[in-house]
Subunit: 279 residues, 2 copies
Amino acid sequence: MPIETVSENKSHGGTQGVYRHRSRETGTDMTFSVFVPEHDAGARLPVLWYLSGLTCTHANVTEKGEYRAACAEQGIVFIAPDTSPRGDEVPDDEGYDFGKGAGFYVDATQEPWSKHYRMRSYIESELPDIVGAHFPVDMARQGITGHSMGGHGALTIGLRNPERFRSVSAFSPIVSPLACPWGEKALGGYIGQDRAAWREYDAVALIEDGAKVPDLLVDQGTCDGFLEEQLKTHLLREACERAGQSATIRMQEGYDHSYYFISTFMAGHVAWHAKALKV
Amino acid sequence: MPIETVSENKSHGGTQGVYRHRSRETGTDMTFSVFVPEHDAGARLPVLWYLSGLTCTHANVTEKGEYRAACAEQGIVFIAPDTSPRGDEVPDDEGYDFGKGAGFYVDATQEPWSKHYRMRSYIESELPDIVGAHFPVDMARQGITGHSMGGHGALTIGLRNPERFRSVSAFSPIVSPLACPWGEKALGGYIGQDRAAWREYDAVALIEDGAKVPDLLVDQGTCDGFLEEQLKTHLLREACERAGQSATIRMQEGYDHSYYFISTFMAGHVAWHAKALKV
């Protein structure tokens, strides 16, 4: 599993790196970023995964996320993968909400998507092995978060893998692909029209079907233009209440869907994960 | 002096705005960003100016600078102007280091640059009036900083206007355009070949010629690829020592010229300015 170093910059006492590797799951080159705080020789640090939203690559949060000061303070490694396979050989869609930049963290079953669009297995299986092999991490202590489509990814991957993730949070997540146009387009395209098969990719459905994690933290801006039609935070709140799933879901007055919002609450999320990861 | 709102986003409790106006000095539309922290009604906050480097617009530091948390904590308004006039009517150069994106904070005297390239007067005179008229600021409490070409701008504008700026700092500044290729190309082009006329645009020369401010703070990465040929931090240190100018000039081990460096030390600079601005 060789990886290639695209760039490394010293920042906040640690190293912000960008790396590339040939992915067995997607059949393409994949790029991801890793921030490793300053640490004692031989130390192995807990890991926080951040899954990005529609149209994003690893670069958006790496440049705008304002996580490095908090991760340096807490001693946490921060991993930002890409959101889809890339390359000329990868099929795409005209919309910004399907195809490249919009992998939705699923393993596609439908043609022509199933060959390359395997972001679930990439995040759940392949990339953790690579991270574990190449960075000073303690893979027994992992947390996961993400934004929008990546919030959906963090919630669903976290809920499906409670043995792997000690802590799960999200910024303005898509909470139910079954109940919004983004989700219907993406899952219909990647997985097909059998909606029962979507439930493992739907945080609300997973909670309804019995998935459970120790706690959830979600921040959502009240001035987010996607809130009403796509994100529907209330569905998550209601599902958690019905299922007895502990959750802190905060509606943040006046905030929108941008990195100006995410960066405001990033340090708080890092600290929240640190409480679970550093015990 | 009307200004147009390009965007406003809530961030870190305050408002990150981007604004556009027709400039009397440059004869073009100019764009700048302003972060206004949350504040009591009627309050007027101190101001920190940030001048950007070669190829940048207001957007680079606005997205990558990580200043908002610190400015929100300190109650300081942060202003990021553009680095040159823009538009089809503005003459340009093929290089990244002259023309658009490279105004060097001078008033050009040479054709064809003198009509639009008036960034000195824009920063020293026009934009402060606009900021004072449109934002909740106390213009009796201003500080200035900047990066690279903008560090040169901050140092020279700060040294020439000690009555206006209570505090002056810089990140990896060009300290002497008289003594580096970037400076020779820019000042030769904008001001002409009479090098005596460059001295008011050269921090080292200004200090040699008697300019004085209460203190200076400079951070410079030791792994900055421009250090040896262009930035030459030691010339500033030597000039300050000879002139008895108080200065803290820190060589930061392992850091480069990027925003990964700037963002690391931004909160420290904001806190340093706050000490002078909040008394």
